[in-house]
């Protein structure tokens, strides 16, 4: 996998993370929207329940009226109210399932209604005994069951709303761009709802009081008085709560709360006024003036409650609901904006990441490529090549190190070159003496011999013979060895100089027609070829981009070897082939000569090495030159061989790298 791909994978992962984050933000926004809607419908439900309760109390009131005065009017009103209540119940938006049986309220209402129906029909059929009395004992438990069911439901819904707001606060944390203001708004909304509930509690207490008062007026039981007092404390504490909430809201700086405060005080005043009337009614009843008490109840108190108290309560509750709805709306807006903002930021980040990483990738890959190419160029002998330093980071440092290394290599190379040069020069000087005095010795010996022949008579036969033997047989070979050793030294020094030159000579690449070059290289062997002792076949050879001189040298070397080291017992066959491969151009010179043993194959390329039989003259340098020249082109040279069957020498020159 290339670097580009690896980085693409990493980028992909980061992209996935960012996408998840964006998705998370969107999901949070949607959750909040859902919760807010749930809260809205819950509040509506609460309102409805309050209404149901009010109507229900009215219903009961009518029923009591009917039982007390036998007026059809009461019964009709009861029936009418019944028609209203049930649909109301049905239409109210249901809350979260599983908390309370949604049918509980309906069930209890159904039971109550069934009992009342039964009593009414019994009465209609004239079967009841106590025709005047309100059958409180029978109805009361069912009524309480129904009222409890409603209270439970309201309680449940309140809990749900609180939970929803808790969740909203939590989700707000998941949208990074939502600020403190939204949390404050949520707090404000919660307070509004609590206010709403407090006022509803007041309404409930109010209804209960009226009911107990009516009951008391009918039955005169102390229990009702106690209930009345209890309901009054309920109402008072509800009013307290309202007062506290508004004070808190003012403290939080919520707008419009001063007006609400005044509203609440007004409500309190109305309530107190109404309670005075109730007290009066009780006093009347205690004084035995039931009729007047009832009148007071019906005409003054009830009217007051219906016309002044309940509407005020309604208004206040509507006001709270509006407040909450307003908060919900503004929160939804804020959430939408915040979510959008978060998405935009995330997208911009992703874009920036993408662009930056693209540039980084390109710079990295480019730098690595230049380094790679540079290494190749330096490796093939161009020690003047330097890599451009384009940045000041680690890559730039790497390029600088590379350049320093190359410079140091060049220095060593130059040192070596001049060392070899001066050494070979210094070695030649003594050689002149060696050879020179060898020569002089030979001349002196001739003179001595000549003199001896002249004056030889003065010596004994033996001595004479010995002298001649020394002069003619013993000394000359000694001189011969000195001479050939000096010759050998001379050759070696030349060879070393030649190799050094080959390592340093400048290369001038050109497009070479290899077929023509090979034929040219075969010319010196024409005689042998024509005499039929060797057959040479030259395949279709591809063109080669390289230094002509160098390639000529290599080819001549390989051909010479193939022809020199042929097997004497059979006719020599040399085959020259070449092909263009993906990375380089390869040439092969195959012969059917003596072959090279496996352990000798690598050694053959070393300087001054000759392997196998030395019956043919040679310095042992040919392959060493060839290897150096091939290396200068960045290529390689190798040998495959089967001893006794033949060898194939091959060399490969890489194609020049394409410019990027």
């Amino acid at each position: 996998m290339r670097i580009k791909d690896k980085l693409a994978v990493i980028l992909g992962l980061i992209g996935v993370i960012l996408a998840f984050w964006a998705g998370f933000v969107v999901w949070n926004a949607r959750q909040i929207t859902g919760q807010v809607q749930s809260v809205a419908s819950a509040i509506d439900h609460l309102k409805t329940m309050g209404e149901v309760r009010s109507r229900f109390y009215n219903q009961m009131h009518m029923l009591v009226h009917y039982f007390a005065y036998h007026e059809e009017q009461g019964r009709t009103k009861y029936e009418a109210l019944k028609q209203e209540v049930f649909p109301l119940l049905k239409s109210s938006p249901k809350g979260a399932p599983g908390k309370q049986e949604p049918g509980d309220i309906e069930k209890t209402y159904g039971q109550l209604t069934a009992v009342i129906e039964r009593i009414l029909s019994e009465r209609d059929q004239g079967r009841t005994g106590q025709a005047r009395a309100f059958p409180g004992d029978e109805i009361e438990p069912h009524m309480n069951a129904f009222l409890n069911a409603i209270e439970n439901d309201i309680f449940q819904r309140t809990e749900d709303i609180e939970a929803d707001y808790d969740r909203i606060v939590m989700r707000l944390g998941g949208i990074p761009t939502m600020g403190e203001a939204s949390l404050r708004r949520v707090e404000g909304a919660r307070l509004s709802i609590r206010y709403f509930l407090a006022v509803d509690a007041l309404s409930r207490a109010m209804n209960r009081q009226v009911h107990e008062l009516v009951d008391y007026l009918v039955s005169g039981s102390d229990r009702n008085l106690r209930e009345l007092t209890a309901a009054d404390s309920e109402a008072t504490s509800a009013l307290e709560k309202c007062r506290r909430i508004i004070t808190t809201q003012i403290g939080l700086g919520v707008e419009g709360e001063e007006e609400q405060f005044l509203q609440m005080e007004d409500l309190e005043r109305e309530y107190r006024g109404t309670m005075l009337l109730a007290r009066d009614a009780v006093i009347l009843k205690k004084g035995g003036m039931t009729g007047q008490a009832f009148a007071l109840l019906e005409e003054k108190l009830k009217r007051r409650v219906d016309d002044r108290l309940l509407p005020r309560i309604d208004r206040i509750m509507d006001g709270s609901r509006e407040e909450v709805a307003e908060v919900n709306r503004s929160m939804l807006n804020a959430v939408f904006v915040a979510a959008m903002a978060a998405m935009v930021v995330i997208s911009l980040c992703a874009l920036a990441l993408f662009v930056a990483s693209q540039r980084l990738i390109r710079a990295l890959v480019d730098a690595i490529y230049r380094l790679k190419t540079g290494a190749g160029i330096v490796g093939s002998g161009d020690l003047d090549h330097r890599i451009e330093v384009r940045s000041r980071d680690e890559l730039g440092e790497l390029a600088e190190s590379f350049n320093k290394m190359t410079a140091s290599l060049k220095e060593s190379d130059e040192e070596l070159k001049s060392f070899i040069f001066s050494l070979s020069h210094d070695l030649r000087s003594p050689l002149v003496n060696l050879k020179g005095f060898s020569d002089e010795l030979a001349r002196s010996l001739e003179e001595i011999e000549a003199l001896l022949r002249q004056e030889g008579g003065a010596l004994t036969e033996d001595d004479s013979a010995r002298l001649l033997a020394l002069l003619r047989q013993e000394v000359p070979p000694m001189l011969g060895f000195i001479e050939s050793a000096s010759d050998r030294m001379g050759e070696l020094i030349n060879a070393v100089l030649k190799l050094s030159r080959a390592s340093h000579m400048p290369l001038r690449p050109e497009m070479i027609d290899m077929t023509a070059l090979v034929r040219e290289a075969l010319k010196p062997h024409e005689e042998q070829i024509n005499a039929g002792r060797i057959t040479v076949s030259v395949g279709a050879l591809p063109q080669l981009l390289a230094d002509r001189q160098a390639v000529e040298l290599v080819v001549r070397n390989l051909l010479d070897n193939a022809i020199k080291y042929r097997a004497p017992e059979r006719a020599g066959r040399v085959e020259i082939t070449g092909e263009r491969q993906t990375q380089d151009t390869v040439f092969h010179v195959r012969d059917n000569g003596r072959g090279i043993a496996p352990e000798d194959r690598q050694k053959a390329f070393d300087m001054f090495r000759r392997v196998g039989q030395r019956d043919v003259p040679g310095e042992g340098m040919g392959l060493a030159y060839a290897r150096t020249l091939v290396r200068r082109h960045g290529g390689r040279i190798w040998c495959e061989s089967e001893p006794g069957a033949g060898s194939t020498f091959s060399f490969a020159i890489p194609h020049p790298a394409p410019r990027q």
């Binding site: 002149v432 020179g436 005095f437």
Partner: protein
Amino acid sequence: MGTQQPVTILLVEDDPGHALLIEKNLRRAGIVNDIIVLDNGQKAVDFLFKEGDYRASTYPAPPLILLDLNLPVLDGYGVLRKIKNDGRTKPIPVIVLTTTDNPQEVARCYELGCNVYITKPVEYDKFSEAIRNLGLFLSIVKVPEKD
């Protein structure tokens, strides 16, 4: 040269082996003149200016110098410079006889005033042939009279 005109050949060469071989090959080419061998540049300069160890020496005939470049104490370039910058020794013919054939070195010697530059071949056969040719050449060379 030959027997008519006496010329002293001053051979400045630090390798005694080379010096002897040069002498022998010159003789073989027919040179019979005196050959004086000096093995470092400073001695050569002292000899020519009659200074140092050579204050009292005399040489019989006007000199011709065969000068190697790789000399100890004072190298060939130094000798050349000194000789060619002094009016007394400027006219003396100097033949640089050295191993290097680097064109820059050749040019430098001629700039410093050498009269002839000869490269000593490194192969002995060519070396001895070159010295013999030099000898034949010297036999027809005329030098300024000694004053």
